[in-house]
C-alpha cells in the first residue's frame, strides 16, 4: 500500500452507526455518527430489515457450517462498510457499522455490553424492560464510549 493510500485509509477510519436489538427483535437503541447516506425508508422499516437480515444470516451460517461452532456469525463487509455483530447468550444483539479499516470490534462491543448496557440499563430498576431505551445516562455514556474508540474519527464525516 502506498503511503498516501495508507494515510487516506487512516483518515477514513470511522464508526457509522449502532443498533441494539432485544431478543424479540425490537430495536432498543439506534444512533448514528458519521452516516452520509440514509436508507430512504422509515427507521422502523430499516430496523425490521436489519433484524430480518441478521436472523437469516445467523440461521444460514449455522446450517452451512461444516464444523460445530460456538460463536457463529461475527461480521461481514461490502466494498464500503463493515458490519460487526455481537450477540449475548441472552439474545441481545449489538450491531456496529464501521468503515473497512476496522478489523475487529468484538472487544469494544463486549465492553459496551458489560460495562455500559449492564451497568446503566439492567441495573437501573427505573428502566423498564423491552422498550426503546431513552435513559439519558446510558445514551451519554454510550456516546462518549463510541467517540473514544480508537477507530472513531470525525474527520471522515
Amino acid at each position: 500500500m502506498r503511503v498516501a493510500d495508507r494515510l487516506e485509509a487512516e483518515a477514513k477510519m470511522t464508526v457509522h452507526n449502532l443498533y441494539i436489538f432485544d431478543r424479540n427483535g425490537n430495536c432498543l437503541f439506534y444512533n448514528e455518527w458519521n452516516r452520509k447516506k440514509q436508507a430512504g425508508i422509515s427507521k422502523d422499516e430499516e430496523f425490521k430489515l436489519m433484524y430480518g437480515m441478521l436472523f437469516s444470516i445467523k440461521s444460514f451460517v449455522n446450517k452451512m457450517s461444516p464444523l460445530d461452532m460456538k460463536e457463529g456469525f461475527l461480521s461481514f463487509q461490502t466494498s464500503k462498510y463493515k458490519l460487526h455483530f455481537y450477540e449475548t447468550p441472552t439474545g441481545l444483539k449489538f450491531v456496529l457499522n464501521t468503515d473497512l479499516s476496522v478489523s475487529n470490534a468484538r472487544d469494544s462491543l463486549q465492553h459496551l455490553y458489560s460495562n455500559i448496557y449492564v451497568e446503566h440499563v439492567v441495573k437501573n430498576p427505573l428502566v423498564p424492560e423491552a422498550q426503546t431505551l431513552d435513559s439519558e445516562i446510558f445514551c451519554s455514556k454510550l456516546d462518549s464510549f463510541i467517540k473514544a474508540l480508537p477507530f472513531y474519527s470525525p474527520r471522515a464525516a
Binding site: R23, K70, Y113, V118
Partner: protein
C-alpha cells in the same frame, strides 16, 4: 481478565448478616401481607423471577461465560460459578436422572436461613423460594425452560437443602410476526 478490573462494583463486599436479615424482613412482611403460605411462596417465586431475568445479564457480563453446550455444563456453571459469585457457597450437583434432564443442587449451607426457625403455623412456607424464581428467570433468558423446586429443606427438618431442577425445553428464537 482485565476487563473486569475496571468495573466499579467489583470487590465490593456486603455484610452477609445484613443480607440474611434483610431477606428475613422481606419474607416476614410477605407473611403479614398475604393470607397463606401458598401465596407467599408464589410471591417469592415471582420476585425471584424478576431478579433472575436481570441478574443473568450481570452474571454474563462478569463471568464472560459463553453459551453452555449441554445441561450438565449448565449445572456446573450454576453451582461452581453463579452460587459462588452471588451467595459465596458452592452446592454439589448430584442425583442426575438417567436421561440427563434432571439434577439436584445440594446446599451444605444456605446463607438465607442462618437465623431462621419456621414457626409451627408456617409449616408449608418455602422460605428460600426466591432462589427457585431466580434460577427459573435467569435460565429462561438463555433459552432454557426449567422447572425448579425445593425437594428438601433443613428448615423443615430435612438433613440437607436440595433444589431440584428439571429441564423442560429449549426456547427457540422466532422471527417476530409480520416481519416480511
Amino acid at each position: 481478565m482485565s476487563r473486569q478490573s475496571n468495573r466499579a462494583t467489583d470487590n465490593k463486599k456486603m455484610n452477609s448478616e445484613l443480607f440474611t436479615l434483610t431477606y428475613g424482613a422481606l419474607v416476614t412482611q410477605l407473611c403479614k401481607d398475604y393470607e397463606n403460605d401458598e401465596e407467599v411462596n408464589k410471591q417469592l417465586d415471582k420476585m425471584g423471577y424478576n431478579i433472575g431475568v436481570r441478574l443473568i445479564e450481570d452474571f454474563l457480563a462478569r463471568s464472560s461465560i459463553g453459551r453452555c453446550q449441554d445441561f450438565r455444563e449448565t449445572a456446573d456453571v450454576i453451582a461452581k460459578v453463579a452460587f459462588k459469585m452471588y451467595l459465596g457457597t458452592t452446592p454439589s450437583v448430584t442425583n442426575w436422572s438417567p436421561a440427563g434432564d434432571e439434577f439436584s443442587l445440594i446446599l451444605e449451607n444456605n446463607p438465607l436461613v442462618d437465623f431462621v426457625e419456621l414457626p409451627d403455623n408456617h409449616s408449608t412456607l418455602i422460605y428460600s423460594n426466591l432462589l427457585c424464581g431466580i434460577l427459573r428467570g435467569a435460565l429462561e433468558m438463555v433459552q432454557m425452560a426449567v422447572d425448579v423446586r425445593f425437594a428438601q429443606d433443613t428448615l423443615r427438618g430435612d438433613n440437607v437443602t436440595e433444589i431440584r431442577m428439571r429441564f423442560i425445553k429449549r426456547i427457540e428464537e422466532n422471527l417476530p410476526a409480520g416481519d416480511e
